[in-house]
Amino acid sequence: MNNYDYRLNKEPPQIMHIDLNSAFASAEQQAWPALRGRPMGVTNRLSKECCVIAASYEAKALGIKVGVRRTEAMALCPDFIMLETDPSKYTWMYQNLIKIMQDYSPNIKMKSIDEGIIDFHGLAPTLKGRSLEDIGYEIKQRVYQAVGKWMRINVGIGPNRFLAKTAAGLHKPDGLDVISHKNLIEVYESLKLEDLAGIAGGYGSRLRAHGISTPLEFLAADDGLLRKQVFRSINGLYWHERLRGYEMDDQPTNLGMVGRQWVVKKPSDNDDYLRSCMHFLVETTGMKLRYRNVEARGVCVWVEFSAGGGWRDKRMHRSTCYTNEDIWERVSRLFDHRPKHMVVRTMGLYLYELTPSSRSQLGLFEDVAKADYLTKAVDEINDFYGAFTVFSADTLVGKRNVRQKIPFGGTEYFELLLKRA
């Protein structure tokens, strides 16, 4: 089959994917010269069984990857160094990256704290004949200048987000690659199925079960086969188009839930300790809820026990909750019904059935309006003087114990995180 038969997207590549490699580990190596060239990683909170959330290249070369426990890492490399995350450093790095990206296009999208996309569609006149490769190299230079020479940046350019991300992963670290309809087949020939972003173990096995074991076979697969048999959903068609370079991933996603979970600092069955920490989680979730300007009807609370197993309960209410007080009332009612005398290892909550907030409208009941005004006033004080300047006294123990962690995936709450840093 030739390129024409595959019906590839022949539009010039105009999507650029920028990925800071081993971002947190590289930032620490940039800050601390003594760590450069050494196997090291960062974790949210140092403990015996903590996991690596970012590993340096030197550590990766020894097989220490994201998710490896500290004990396993030490077994692989007794000199392995582990630091705690420094959220303010990474959010500053993130802000720098955004500033640089915004200089090239108003249409940028951060995929996570260390990777983002620049869409150059419609910007040909402003580029003044410069190629995207040239701009990619310039962006790398600017990141080196803004953050430091130890940073490693991968840039990928492609006709859609999927191929731009694939291109960014071709030569790690520090590569710059372009995928277009001209070299797409050669690139697929050089990759394995699981090298494709979004095809992990589950989809990989499903594809193999239908005789598709290489990216090229995936490309050649009929859309009917992908839609009706392999994926059994519209996803099959999306993959069919995505592999050919057509954009399938620029649709906004709806906010489904807002929540927070926490690995208990000192696993415990002490009710006062756990309630205070849960109350603190409620306050941070309330901040997120109001930051997104939504209200929630559904509440779910869950815990996992040190002895194994867990418990969860959820409830849908007729009215929505919005203030910390409302949320805590609903959460505590559920939380108090958990099995007592069990040592809790992890706990969390989430709010679902979200609807846009209507709290700016005049309320019918004065007491409800007063609670809203109070919440708004407290939020404004905390915005100005720093989060948790005013907080519920009941959360005091939780405030001492629960730490802010670095969010992976979405970047929706970074501005909120910056206020809390």
Partner: protein, 90 residues
């Protein structure tokens, strides 16, 4: 192993404010006196701002060529604090 040595002590710092340059090099702590010892700081490896409530804090990671130091400048109180250090071969 975490090689960070936490210090959290106020220190005397001699700083150079340059007339021009990019933001990462405009302000450079050059010398620090800590526990009676003068340390010449030769490299600014990373600088970033952060906030503590409404107080602006500038974090400076610097090196004396052997050890790395994390210094924080409190822009409201105009004070320098040596927060932590990592020795060359932790």
């Amino acid at each position: 192993m975490d090689p960070t040595i936490e210090i959290n002590e106020r220190v005397d710092v001699v700083t150079v404010f340059r007339r021009q340059g990019d933001i990462s090099s405009l302000c450079m702590p050059c010398k620090m006196r800590w526990r009676g010892q003068e340390i010449a700081l030769t490299e600014l490896t990373l600088r970033h701002p952060t906030v503590q409530g409404k107080r602006m804090i500038h974090v400076f990671h610097v090196s004396d060529g052997t050890n790395g130091y994390r210094l924080e400048f409190d822009a409201e109180r105009l004070s320098w604090t040596l927060i932590a250090m990592i020795a060359e071969r932790p």
